[in-house]
Symmetry: C2
């Protein structure tokens, strides 16, 4: 099982009831060493205030969620926004900037063009990311999000993009997105030296929503410990974020309860 | 665009309002040459009566839906049920038996074991399928169904299984399940000589349900004509089934309207 010192709270897990300062305090109170904030929470709180608060609370930042979205609006707009995201990630000392690449542009059926546009955007901001010391963590999202969220769908594809882009780019692997893949273990092994983040939650057998119906570790069907062992065997020893979008269950609960359960389940299932 | 003579009605498209005899009559009335029945409809009508009715109406059977489900109940039960399905497919002259392999067994997180069990079941019934002249069409299902419907998730994986199993096995490719795959065109090309069926519908950008929210061709984001051209280029010139599970739209409409729209959209989008 993974050491509890690797546990990170992705703030989306309690996003309906805690703002960023409450998340920082919550992590400190529960003895959680890492936090994975979102940009909206950072903007609401103020980047400098957040950076100071996180530092003062003794927390480390596993990653900032999220850059990317190359296919919404114009590419120039997306590039500008990602430049700001890189600055924000640097300001809070994030170990990486998580990139969700975006789906098909409105009205388009051209996956190849959408993917090319993502690579174009990534290449455009990569020099700045390298200079800032903020690696870009490409997150393959579940194929069910291909139309509207991510034309990057598999670990193999993400690693292909890393090879195209070169230094300063890696992958963030979320068990929710990759567990089903017949190639997942082979590709995790191939990812050695490229793994920038590892996210956990669970896939509920009776999933009711394509976005907000994730489960707590242990409540679903994913062999989380097996994937964690594979990621470790590929050389990753960094933080492990718990990121649960759950409109029907966890978002409605008291966040202190969520963090307590999360810690127990992390020790038992991750 | 594909010739209208290749159009097949998968009866699930109108399953809420037409039984099998109504589907047969509907196809005849609308000048649709092919039909893809389901086993429950066949059982309700009687296999011999259905076979005669289909023949008398001048229809051909593109495929019988469906065998498989190796991971529910015992393997021996599944094998027995698949033997019956092969007999039924032979009795109605189906071009293939479509196989949906099943998800993880209840309570299991072991994908490798579930996949091994599917291969074991397939190998057990394959001699009978060969003797009956009923090829088994392995259908990779969308990764979002991996927990509860299909541990066979990609075209590449389906072709790997075909190679393991040998003669008498091929693939049924449904655009809904495979469109997102970065390897789909490469794998369709690899599938030459193994393509037993091609199914169409569309992926709605705002998908609300993991099973019953498919769109009519043209209403979603899939480059259907592009995939059809790839399948043709790989040597497939057989029937093309329209299979739409749609609890919020098409299932509620008058089936005669559905068939009329389906024909127009087939000519325009496939």
């Amino acid at each position: 099982m993974a050491e509890l010192t690797r546990l990170s709270l992705n703030t989306a897990t309690v996003r309906e009831r805690w703002d960023l300062p409450a998340c920082i305090e919550g992590c400190a109170r529960h003895g959680i060493d890492w936090i994975g904030p979102w940009r909206d929470g950072l903007a609401a709180y103020g980047v400098e205030r957040a950076a100071r608060h996180i530092r003062d609370a003794g927390l480390k930042v596993s990653g900032l969620c999220r850059g990317g979205w190359w296919t919404a609006g114009t590419l120039a707009q997306a590039i500008e926004d990602n430049r700001r995201a890189i600055d924000e990630a640097a300001a809070i000392g994030a170990a990486c900037l998580v990139i969700v690449n975006g789906g098909l542009p409105d009205g388009s059926r051209d996956l190849a063009a959408a993917r090319a546009r993502c690579l174009q955007g990534l290449a455009a901001v990569l020099p700045q990311a390298r200079a800032a010391g903020v690696p870009l963590a490409l997150e393959p999202l579940h194929p069910m999000t291909c139309a509207d969220r991510s034309v990057l769908s598999t670990t193999a594809q993400a690693l292909d993009w890393c090879e195209t882009l070169g230094e300063g780019v890696g992958v963030a692997l979320d068990v929710y997105h990759v567990w089903w893949d017949p190639e997942v273990l082979t590709q995790i092994s191939r990812a050695r030296g490229r793994i920038l983040g590892f996210h956990v939650c669970d896939w509920l057998r009776e999933t009711r929503d394509l976005v907000t119906d994730r489960g707590m570790m242990g409540d679903g069907v994913v062999d989380i410990a097996g994937l964690r062992a594979a990621v470790d065997a590929a050389g990753y020893d960094g933080p492990i974020e718990v990121e649960i979008f759950s409109s029907r269950d966890w978002w409605a609960r008291d966040p202190d309860e969520v963090l307590s359960v999360m810690k127990r389940r992390f020790e038992r299932c991750v």
